[in-house]
């Protein structure tokens, strides 16, 4: 017998759409209040990213780091930890990629691959630290990971300024990366590069890891009930340590892909915030790997749209952050429509019961 999906199963989707709709209404209200040409501003916000290839390219290239950090957060949180060191890991990934590309001096693309691999390793180690401290010393990973982010920022800046600072530049920029150490553009007229392809491939690989391997199953089990995992013969400590390492690898690699795809030298002097965005992506994607590209597309589109709006009107870019917050708030508010869902479930259960009675 085929199971037809009951109506209550679609509520999740309705809820997402309703959340987006409500937040657009709020955005519109804000725009009405501060803009002289609200319709134009709203048009820019909603359709702006579609008006030229370059703009849409901005959306796509903005997705790349979001996908990597979104995946990182899903993996880091999987065994029930709140390890937030993906921010530091992403940053150290960029620092390590920059340093390695300049130090290794390998020929052509081999240098690129080696630098990215090194960045992934460094990123993995960064996220590993809170995991190990959690398992071995029962230190709260939230606290240690936030501290580690500071260490990463200042240690990373120290490394860049001490060893790779280009004196011909005025602020703390590094030397240019060697020729060939770059992720090539794939669409002319945009900055969309091979990093996006790498991100998509990574999504597929991680989907396999989470859904198709016993490791993914075990990580899930540890997150759902670590007592049960231990008693079933799954070593939860080991699983936690491995997941934190893998999560860190994703963030560090993402940092390298971002750096080599978008820049020709290291030029950050603060944490870029993509790690935090990863949390947003994970929430919007409901911690499901397959939704990560869509969540990244959504967030990136939102940002580019708001950016276009703020450049063409008198609406400040800060509004974007408000809009973003409103949307995430509504999407993560699971109580919306729960009353409707409850009523639907009651109705369906009754129908099912009645059918059972009748079938006897």
């Amino acid at each position: 017998m085929k199971n037809k999906k009951p109506l209550s199963g679609y509520i999740e989707m309705f809820r997402m759409m309703l959340a987006i709709f409500i937040s657009l209404l709020i955005v519109f209200a804000i725009i009405l209040l501060i803009s002289e040409e609200p319709l134009d501003a709203l048009g820019d916000f909603v359709f702006g990213p579609l008006t030229s290839l370059r703009r849409f390219g901005n959306v796509i290239e903005g997705m790349t780091p979001l996908m990597f950090t979104g995946l990182a957060v899903i993996i880091l949180f999987k065994p029930g930890l709140f390890n937030l060191s993906m921010e530091g890991s992403f940053f150290m990934g960029m620092v390590a990629a920059c340093g390695a590309s300049l130090v290794f001096g390998l020929p052509g693309k081999i240098n690129l691959i080696a630098a990215m691999a090194f960045a992934a390793l460094v990123g993995g180690v960064v996220c590993l630290i809170p995991g190990v401290l959690k398992v071995k010393a029962h230190a709260n990973e939230l606290v240690t990971s936030l501290m580690i982010n500071y260490i990463c920022l200042y240690f990373g800046l120290y490394v860049i300024n001490e060893f790779f600072y280009d004196p011909t530049q005025n602020s703390s920029y590094s030397y240019k990366f060697p020729e060939g150490t770059v992720l090539e553009n794939i669409i002319d007229g945009t900055r969309v590069n091979q990093g996006t392809i790498l991100a998509i491939i990574t999504v597929v690989l991680i989907w396999f890891l989470v859904n198709k391997t016993s490791f993914g199953f075990k990580a899930n089990l540890v997150g759902e009930n670590n007592n049960m995992a231990d008693y079933c013969g799954v070593k939860s400590g080991k699983i936690i340590i491995i997941t934190q390492f893998v999560g860190g690898i994703l963030a560090g690699f993402g940092g390298a892909a971002h750096l080599f795809g978008m820049f020709e030298r290291f030029q950050y002097s603060a944490l870029p915030g993509y790690g935090w965005d990863g949390v947003l992506i994970a929430i919007v994607a409901k911690h499901k790997v397959q939704y990560v590209p869509f969540a990244a597309l959504f967030l990136s589109y939102l940002r580019i749209g708001a950016d276009i709006m703020s450049r063409n009107s008198n609406i400040p870019f800060e509004i974007v952050n408000i809009i973003q917050a409103v949307m995430v708030l509504l999407i993560s508010a699971t109580a919306i429509l729960s009353g409707v869902k409850k009523k639907l479930i009651i109705k369906e259960t009754r129908a099912l019961e009645a059918a059972k009675e009748g079938g006897r």
Binding site: N3, S214, A229, Y231, V234, E348
Partner: protein, 510 residues
Amino acid sequence: MENEILRMEHITKVYPNGVMANKDVNLSVKEGEIHALMGENGAGKSTLMKILFGDEEATEGKVWYKGEELKVKNASDAIKKGIGMVHQHFMLVDSLRVYENVVLGMEPKKGIMTDSKEAIRLVQETADKYNLKVDPMAVVGDISVGQKQKVEILKVLLRGAKLLILDEPTAVLTPQETQELFEQLLMLKKNGHTIIFISHKIREVMQICDNLTVLRGGKTVGSMEVRNATEEGISHFMVGRDVVLRVNKKPAEFGDVLLNVKNLNYTNKEGRKLLDNVSFKIRKGQILGVAGVEGNGQNELAEAIFGFYPDATGSIMFEGNELLGKSIKMIRKNGLSYIPEDRIKTGAAGNLPIWANLIADTIDTNELKKNGLLDYKKIHERGKELIEDFAILCKNDEQLAGMLSGGNMQKVVVAREFSSDPKLLIANQPTRGIDVGANEFIWKKIVEQRDAGKGVMLVSADLNEIMELSDSILVMCDGHVAAYFEDASSVTEFELGNYMLGLKRQEDVE
């Protein structure tokens, strides 16, 4: 009806997960009676009482209490109206003293300070009035389960409850303690209190209740006066067919020694000695029952054998291999499996589907993989097979384990632990809080295991279960072996009780 104190009419409850726990349930309780609410687990008893106590909201239906419609939003509302509940799992603060627990949240005040003297006096007075013997100054963590229950009852009485709900109060008591509890309940009845006694132990209901109501599958099956009822009649009511909880066992045929535990000692982090030189053997084809008042080391013994405490000392030889110090994974590989005491905390993951719960221990074996990746076809086949073999009531194997009733969730755990075809099964409270049907089924499986020449170690607080199933019985008291009976039929429940309570102890138990 005359003297009716409580009437619940047409109660229907649908949980947000789509489970219909109560369907048009009716319950009528007379003032001053002890009314038994009976039924298998998952029959809707707990849901009905949660609605009465304000923990859950009824989807439909009305509750009448003392002639007025009762609308309670939460437990404190219910308490104000004079309804009190003694939960199956005690809601006490272990580190506080008895009197502190009893007055918690309603402390008598002197200025802004708690008036301890007055509190102690109040507790002592109530205790004396109802003949509930507890020491108000004792620390709750140190007193026995039976005593804790008295503290719970005191808590409820001191808050002015006239209607007391007791959720399976005898599940954790020895026969002696049960008798004492019954005397106290009769005393309460004499004082004009009304008691709803939730139980599925027919004999106990026959002993102290006046009327009974039976629920089955979320519906009221019927109500009757206890003096007109028979054991078989009630049993028939509860499961819809005649089940008398007895197992037919062939005489035991003991084989070689399977497990040999010698001088096992375990001291926990707080420095409490929980296992004190425990030695015993389990043979092939033997069910060894481990009896004892809860908290006397039985649970730790089971967990120690299964590798929960690598720092225990002594020796656990299994077919010539030392198990002590080995990981749980290795112990499972050696052919042991374990039904844990607490299915919610340890046995199952409520947020994972049934199939995931069923394969959690075998996920690393190649049977469930194809080219190194999980083979969902095989996994679901395995899931469906086990669901069928163990008669697990569910929509399909994708249903979340947490949505199942207690008995069915336990069957999931049992099915998983049997699926690896273990040489030795350690069953720790395998039928706690589950219905008669599931209980009977699990017993049957355990006996089958023994008849196949495998070993079983059965830890249970339910003496009836120990007596029915065991070939041999080990009694634990205070971490040591208080007695061992090679032939379980040579001992009575009452005698076991004496050893459990530490009144008697065999010398040189081997």
